[in-house]
Symmetry: C2
Subunit: 354 residues, 2 copies
Amino acid sequence: MAKNEKVTIYDISKRLNISAATVSRALNNNPKISEKTRELVMKTAQELNYKQNRLALALKSGKTNSIGVIVPYINRNFFSAVIDGIEKQLTPHGYNMIICQSHEDAINEADHITSLLNTQVDGIFMSVSMTTHDTIHIEKILENNTPLIFFDRKKDIPGVSSVTIDDFRGGYMATEHLIQQGAQRIAHFCGDLNLEIYKNRNNGFLRALEDHNIPINKNLIIHTNSRIEAGAEAVAKLWSKKNRPDAIFSSSDYAALGAIQELRKLKVKIPEEVGVVGFSNEPFTKYMELPMSSIDQTPVTMGEIAAQVFLEQINNKQHVLSVEKRVVLAPELVVRKSSNKMKSFKGTPPVSTE
Amino acid sequence: MAKNEKVTIYDISKRLNISAATVSRALNNNPKISEKTRELVMKTAQELNYKQNRLALALKSGKTNSIGVIVPYINRNFFSAVIDGIEKQLTPHGYNMIICQSHEDAINEADHITSLLNTQVDGIFMSVSMTTHDTIHIEKILENNTPLIFFDRKKDIPGVSSVTIDDFRGGYMATEHLIQQGAQRIAHFCGDLNLEIYKNRNNGFLRALEDHNIPINKNLIIHTNSRIEAGAEAVAKLWSKKNRPDAIFSSSDYAALGAIQELRKLKVKIPEEVGVVGFSNEPFTKYMELPMSSIDQTPVTMGEIAAQVFLEQINNKQHVLSVEKRVVLAPELVVRKSSNKMKSFKGTPPVSTE
DNA sequence: TATTTCTTTGCAATCGATTGCGTATAACTA
DNA sequence: TAGTTATACGCAATCGATTGCAAAGAAATA
């Protein structure tokens, strides 16, 4: 009852004049314990308010029942939504989640990996930072025999499972949608091509043009980062020349936002003169005065599936040396006003608010 | 070098033919160890790639070097920003953060508390859920002698530290700002008055009116929740009658957003005819076509200070029985277009994007 | 040289829970 | 009744690291 003293199985064993071993077995429903003692132990445990010491258990078993998650920024809707998905699946299994931010810095990433391995987490989920090039620090996870699951941003390491979306398809869908809306001169804002995700979105864009017999115009492919200003600048430049585009597919919602802001300054009508589609379906896209079409990456689902892959993996562990599962999710096109010329709004049903 | 085998101090001790105790002391720079042995141990530890087993340490010391954070939703900018702040301060001290979501459900909250206490975290940070009324599950944290820090949403429990913002002041500032813009009939969308934060915002609103000799008109106080629709409905109702308001102070950014959307449908000019100020400074507010004024709760600072309070608390622990520190942060008014009638934009400098 | 005082190191217990192995008692068979 | 087989439980080691106490060896003093 006292505030501080933790009750252990030894306290129970003393109280009942039996050994701690028996108490432990009774508590774990070991069949070798008689019904009578088991009940007695259970009752006493309740009375004394016994709580199992997870540290002792962890030391003995080597399992901590906690997993680590490394993301660039927790403070970004996409990542926090993935974490939400992971939590949904893992909490019922008694896991705790340890969250770390890399801040897009490979060194932080490495430090967090070291720390998580020292903590002996039962698994690590990560989305690699933009500045991560070599993977020696990531391979330490495997050397340590800790399950690793990549989500969204991955590295090609044999034996490592991953859950990503089909960025190629996302790029293709966005582009094809614009073409179906009548666009012929589509500009593409593409991110750092060293990152798989941007390369794939770009490839999807190119393929869609090809499939629809639209010539590729390199002047319409603008390399931008994911900032609002970058989108605004890109538009300013494009509109300062002749042969302006009649649509924009941006691989970033933020750059697309900047583009829309700039277009409105220039009195360009959206979507009549220019259709715009972004990527990621950030929450703000649907709150805009002129709601923006975007590609949804289904982050919650991504987290849930990553968690499921992890659970499968640890269940097979006893016999299998290495499992690798690569899940690729289908992105979803969310059509909103910024790209919809049809009178009757005909897109996916509005995403639920809040 | 082998993948799996963990190196312990015993491995080092065998290699050097000394006792594990000596190895342990050498590793911890205990002055009773000779320079020669210390160096030898250090070198060997490096060679063998020794890593301290934090579980063993935790079992021995009772300290896990991890803290728990319980928030309603991680997937909400305010909360993930607070977590970001906590992380900033605690990572350098070697702490891991275990994140839990209550989903605004008191039962989840209680379960997470139990789990965190079993994990023996060194401290718990929490923002209580909306459905939490009694506090017995929270008091278990104290009975367990675990430091507890409330942030933003707190309960009055003696001996518990908290970091909140001055919601009264926030309400006052928003209202006064609208008055200074010439408003005389200010509507207030207020949330559930059972929650301290909404009650305080409401009181701030009332006091500002009083201080400026504006009569309080109960018809202008609308009880809404934090959803877009609620704001739109409130506007629809207000504008269906005579004596319409000339300003709106909403205790929720979402309700304010709904209000703006509805006002635009009604062709009401913002801010000329009606000024609008929200609360929380959600990211979308600055991305809107008509950027919304709002009250910033400085969540990152809130997290940082909460972490500092925690660190102070555990450092005093040896002598002090109970410390309680209540930090109240000043909210910041961010003036944007939705409430600014002056020609020259004169508000706080624009928040950095991304 | 004998005695005292430091240095430096080792022994063994401890933090709780688990578990292989062994054994006392009870129950059963011949 | 003697012998066999379950049944129920205890002993002691284990998971790694830490630490109070004791002791061996070295250095210093008388």
